[in-house]
Amino acid sequence: MGNLPFVASMMLVAIGFLALITRRNLIKLAIGITVIEMGVNLFLVSLGYVRGGIAPVYTYAPPGFKQMVLPTPQALTLTAIVIGLATTALLLAFIVVIYRHRGTLDAGKIRELRG
């Protein structure tokens, strides 16, 4: 059961890649990327989890605590979430601009750059 979060995160990544390959709507592609991002973030958080651990803040730690969860993966995840926000915003901005130019969101039709 301890590996369940890793299985779940890898499934999220797989679902995201599946969406990227099979879907054609640009918004859905952006959602696919976000799903992969969430899977990776879940992977990082579960990496640092220690069974029975408490939040790694010494100031608020109750007396006589046994273990803390690892703080570094949480810091990594926070950074990754912020970066993910920036990339998602930029992707959506590009989608809006593309839609204004072409009047479609079908990635199969947005193929001016090819060959």
Binding site: L26, L29, L44, P73, L76, I83, L90, I98
Partner: protein, 508 residues
Amino acid sequence: MVHAPILAIAVPLLGAFAAPLLAKLDKRARDAWVLAAGLAVAVFGIAVAVKVLGTGTPWVYTLGAPSPGAAVTQGGFPIRIVLVVDALGAFMGIVAILAGAVGLLYGLHYLREEEGKTLGLSLLLLLWAGILGLVYTGDLFNFFVFLEITSIAACALIGYRVWESRPPEAAFKTMTMYTLGGLLVLVAVGLLYGEHGALNIAYLSKLITGSAVERLALGLLLGGLLMKAGAVPAHMWAPDAYGEAPAMATVVLVANTQASIYAIMRVVFTLFGGALARPGIGWLIASLGTVTVIVAVLMALIQRHLGRLIAYGAVSQIGYMLLAVGVAAVARGGFGEVALRGGIFHMINDAASVGLLFLVAGAIRRAVGSVDLMGLGGLGRSLRWESGFFLLGALALAGIPPLNGFASKFLIYESAFRASPILSAIAVLASILLLAVVVRAFHGTFLGPEPKEAPPSPKGMLVAMGVLALLILVLGLFPGFFLGRLVGPAAKALLAGRAAYLAAVLGG
């Protein structure tokens, strides 16, 4: 100058975010500010390179310690984030500074105020900071963060011309690929952290034994970085991006791609250079490099769009570098070191020649308004300087002696021949085809029966192009000097210098 490595990253960041504020006050103040920031970055980067190459040991800069020279490890465990600049990092810093400075100088005259010049310059500085961080960092997670900074800044620059229909499309595709590549790197970082509980490259490198999780991490890192470098078949974003980005950004994008090659070198030779130094990885990279070279050149041959044509040429040059890295990973030392010297030397040569071609293409676009080879022609008389620069850059790209492209390709051919004659033969063949490509581009753009009128380019743009043209000549005529002073130590730092790198960070 104790703080030069971090200042080289921090100053362009400050420059980028302060530029829009200054632009609200006065446009000329903004230009002066951006130029001053660029000058400061150049000074810091060159100071780093001078010190690292002068002392011959990696420069470890500890962040968050009482003094930047403090020990990284406490109780045998590295607890602080570090910047580690060895000879290769210093060399890559010089390449990045060169590309960034030329791009900035060009951009100040190339961008138009009503198009959003301020934001273009800001993003350029941001991309520059990201590349410098990428090549200076000694910490895997910071590596990921800088990778994402370059991705975001690069894609925003690619989509700079939002009023046209092609650039947003290119930016969307590139952003998708860059994000996925970055996430693969992040998973690999997570795997390595889960296995060893550390993020410091030197410390991890000491602990790596070759377990299944580490192998998976290496595979993920290679997959993400090969895509970001533009290896066939995951290269398709590269011609889109290079072809549609404004010219001043493309020069820095080329340096960004080379930073990915640097990252592959760092991963293969330093991080996994101990227990996982297997020739199979080298053969993978070398064969992908060879495929990249030939596919990109053949695609360049049938392009109509001048930007895309040069972009495919740039992708083929990446193939040469990958080939060199692969050969070096097959044979560490001996002809492997020759290959590595060729590959590292090819980076600065490629930045100069491909950069010059992109700058000329940008000048043509600015003067004529189109870069379709069907409609171009006869510009040689009105754009004299540009045609001369284009010819020089094109011949250097094709590797015509005595220009710089030949000096590095010569080393790559000779060492690849020792590894496998087939790789070398394909590389030579591709170089011949590349000559056909650039002759076609030159003929289509500048020659033709009817001379066409075109307004001259601003002086600043010509100066930026002239810097790169001069560099091509100097690098081509005096390769021995650069190989001995800059490239040789960089190649040594990767192979024999791995122990020195680990010792510099971990002590003892």
